[in-house]
Symmetry: C2
Subunit: 245 residues, 2 copies
DNA sequence: CAGTATCCGATGCGATACTG
DNA sequence: CAGTATCGCATCGGATACTG
């Protein structure tokens, strides 16, 4: 047997396209708006670049995306086709399932860079003052094995939100110091921002107006609002009862 | 890197459970009501039994199904948990995508046994006479490489529909002789039953009442009714423009 | 019948080096 | 920068034989 499932069932043929290793996560990035190779790669830093390139070619062959050349060694623009767009409900369904039934925050999965990369897309710029606002994030409680930045600067200036891992030199308007696990749980809606602020797992330092407004302009994960299952049901990796109380 | 994706994103953690090889198809079977090992296996004959056993154990560990022992070498009852049931929208989403965007019927994928196994679940027994009705199916146009039965007997007797690959000895009420590809396309809703009857790709031989009623009691694939994309859009494997015209 | 244990081969994938 | 070519290993999964 080759790579297919030998079935004409639509679930099987769709799985041949959709269910390859990393493919759902690549689609998540494309659906979130990423269009270039490195941009996509930042959303899945653990995939090797050759494999990412191969998956993108496979998705093009499957009619899920188009690769428009930017010319002479400048790469491509990757854009979902109509067929690709129609994976959105499937990705959203997977996200809802993961949100309800899987334990997400554990040591293995906590990467501050990835949290920031996602967080960057979820800032309500229009609720911030109409000037450049710089927020510095610093994380503690990071796994010892983690090699990578723990400090980030978010440059919020309409209509853009940029992420830096080196000091850009601008004056900082707000400092966010956080225990990584608590920040991730708040991001996912597993605990309230209020509770992690109260416990000092997340601390905000800066002008009180900006800090007070934080809950209004920090939008959580797009799936934070998915209702959790009623207590009692078993879940993945043993323990995910609805958090928060 | 091990097997995970190193992300706390709900899409990633759900994919760790859902997107393993064969897993969506196993879930399709369970969602369709299969509960025992061999019953599940008949829906995915190309998976090896050890791998199927392993996937089922993994799904149990993930909280997706429970394995209730039937005692002393009599196997288990596999039943979806609430978490497992909640993969239904994801499977349905994949099916809808496959139905709309993928070419499903091609030489590689055409297995008459699998078609019959699925067809068996889609007979409206209550629209048949309240006695045993026996329908013999015979397929032509099967790939030369196919080793397996081309003739099947469907024993329709409320509240059961049983499939045989050897003559059960009952008198046959209706004979269905069909070109396999055409039958599969009709099953999937890609062509109308009427058109394949007209072209003699599918022939019904037997009492005219039973034959005339065929379209009423032969329910198609559960996804046959998914609306196709407007003509013109590219699709998987190059060619799937909406069939039928 | 309903699986499990073991073996071994194919392939999937990461690391590295390279190119327009 | 945006990928591609090549290599070698590791794991995935099929075949076969076995067990309660």
């Amino acid at each position: 047997m080759g790579s297919g499932f030998g079935q004409f069932c639509p679930v099987a043929v769709a799985s041949e396209v959709f269910a390859g290793r990393w493919t759902p996560i690549i689609l998540r990035e494309l659906l979130a708006g990423a269009q270039q190779f490195n941009e996509i790669h930042r959303g899945l830093p653990l995939i090797s670049r050759p494999l990412l390139a191969r998956r993108l070619r496979e998705l093009e062959a499957a009619g899920v995306l188009t690769m428009e050349s930017l010319g002479r060694g400048r790469g491509h623009l990757y854009r979902l086709t109509e067929a690709g767009e129609e994976f959105r409900p499937v990705i959203e369904g997977l996200a809802a399932w993961g949100q309800r039934w899987a334990t997400r925050v554990d040591r293995k999965n906590l990467d501050p860079g990835l949290l920031m990369w996602n967080l960057r897309r979820r800032v309500a710029l229009e609720r911030l003052p109409p000037r450049r606002v710089v927020v510095r994030f610093r994380f503690r409680g990071v796994a010892l094995s983690y090699r990578g930045p723990r400090t980030f600067w978010l440059i919020l200036e309409r209509p853009q939100a940029d992420l830096c891992v080196a000091d850009p030199g601008f004056e900082v308007d707000l400092y966010v110091d956080a225990e990584l696990g608590a920040m991730a749980k708040a991001w996912l809606g597993d605990v309230s921002l209020e509770s992690v602020l109260r416990s000092r797992e997340v601390e905000l330092l800066g002008p009180s107006a900006l800090a007070r407004a934080f809950p209004s302009w920090w939008l959580l994960s797009p799936f934070a609002g998915v209702p959790r299952p009623a207590a009692g049901a078993r879940a993945v990796r043993g323990s995910a009862r609805p958090a928060g109380s």
